[in-house]
Chain length 207, copies 3
Amino acid sequence: MDTIIEYINISGSFVFAVSGALIAMKKRLDPFGVLIVAFITAVGGGTLRDILIDRQVFWLYNNSIIYAVITGATVAMIFKSKMNFFSKPIFFYDALGLGLFSITGVQIGLEADLSSSICILLGTVTGVFGGVLRDVVVNRIPVVFKKEIYATASILGGFLYLFLMKLEVPNPYLQIAPILFIIIIRLTAVFFNISLPSIYKDKLKHG
Amino acid sequence: MDTIIEYINISGSFVFAVSGALIAMKKRLDPFGVLIVAFITAVGGGTLRDILIDRQVFWLYNNSIIYAVITGATVAMIFKSKMNFFSKPIFFYDALGLGLFSITGVQIGLEADLSSSICILLGTVTGVFGGVLRDVVVNRIPVVFKKEIYATASILGGFLYLFLMKLEVPNPYLQIAPILFIIIIRLTAVFFNISLPSIYKDKLKHG
Amino acid sequence: MDTIIEYINISGSFVFAVSGALIAMKKRLDPFGVLIVAFITAVGGGTLRDILIDRQVFWLYNNSIIYAVITGATVAMIFKSKMNFFSKPIFFYDALGLGLFSITGVQIGLEADLSSSICILLGTVTGVFGGVLRDVVVNRIPVVFKKEIYATASILGGFLYLFLMKLEVPNPYLQIAPILFIIIIRLTAVFFNISLPSIYKDKLKHG
């Protein structure tokens, strides 16, 4: 279990670092600025989760995470010039990170004997808050609040994990299925521009 | 004592969730976005307080808080269409939450044997930071920094609590008096547009 | 060692409180708003560091920090009218705080037996995050992300500290040299408008 979480943490940090670096470069930050935003994006959600449940912060004694972030940010800076449109890779890496991190969050909540609703919440915090912090820090309106399904995908993935666990689905399917589920929901929502039904009756634009 | 804090936490979370949801709807977020902003507003201040003094985060083993937040956000979403002007209920619920949470913060500081000035500070953190985080996250300039008396009300309420405690005023008056005091100061400041004396000599507008 | 860290914490809090208060007054906040922003600027970085490594938050049982912040904010409010241009003192106090806090962060990381790269990171968090939080809270684009060398100075100072430690340079030179190094790098970068080489090939302006 711990090895799987470790592996997910490293690959999730890498993809979120890429996503963070791409957005930081859109804002034309200097190389260290790009690195810091990549770092915040990659570890922000998991760090908040660990602080909330008073668990040792996951990257503190784990240099692999730091190297994954530095690698992700460097790769993004080097291959940036090859990408004409940033939007698509950002959405893809973001969806991947969302799936990977949401499910680790749920698993870590279960290990800490927390209730089901708190586990789903921790999954969402882990998956979503790195991106929220990234957006707050570069003065963007957090993508999670835009109309495309984002936190919703994380919450639904958490429910699926708990449901499959009740059905005693074995590893690694127990992890892989909800991760894929989250990625598919998120990418489908982005590509087909699907959103939750509006709670606003009038037709005004977003404020 | 703990039951009173528990009760205040639940009702404070409910009213701050309503206030957070109303502001999120002004920004026309989707339902889950509204829920997340309601959650941040409701638990943000108390969570920061608990992390600062290394106390177990108050909502982690307490599903009532989560349900209070979900109920508050849902009520705000359902009855939203009945409200023509959002400003007044937002100010009212905000003032109520400020009073309730500021005083719990002071009490929890006292239980942790912290000095008087740190207790007042913890009260202000508990009462004010949910709203600061809410405003940062929806890209609003934090209401606490606007010219109406906000953090000031929390600080004065904290002083009153410590003063009444020295006079050995018994519960529940010890709690209720400073809570009402904070609410009255805050609402008076809003309705009569009172602010602290300006420290700026020239007459320029806010930047 | 602890006395030196204590002394640095107090003087660093004072200078960062001055810097935070000056920026808050540029945004024309009310006196308590100025005080809160001064407080966030002064203790934000060290608080995040302490929370990350699960160490007791440095100002919680230390009223001297609180008094240093109140003094710094008050001094800034009183002498504000004497300063025609805010930019220069802000840069100076900011550089001083950056140097002082970055090195305490590295030292505290070493005391907690963390790896060299995490120690340098903790130094950067301690030195930089108070300013990031200050800027986020007053809706400014964080100065750390602008093109002048800022986090870079903190990181280089951390490397110098570890290098001098390896050479067994004794105290207080071990502390003073990297602190001065950071201040000089930062001020040189500001006054001569030096920045890191751009990673952007086209000549567009900052977004």
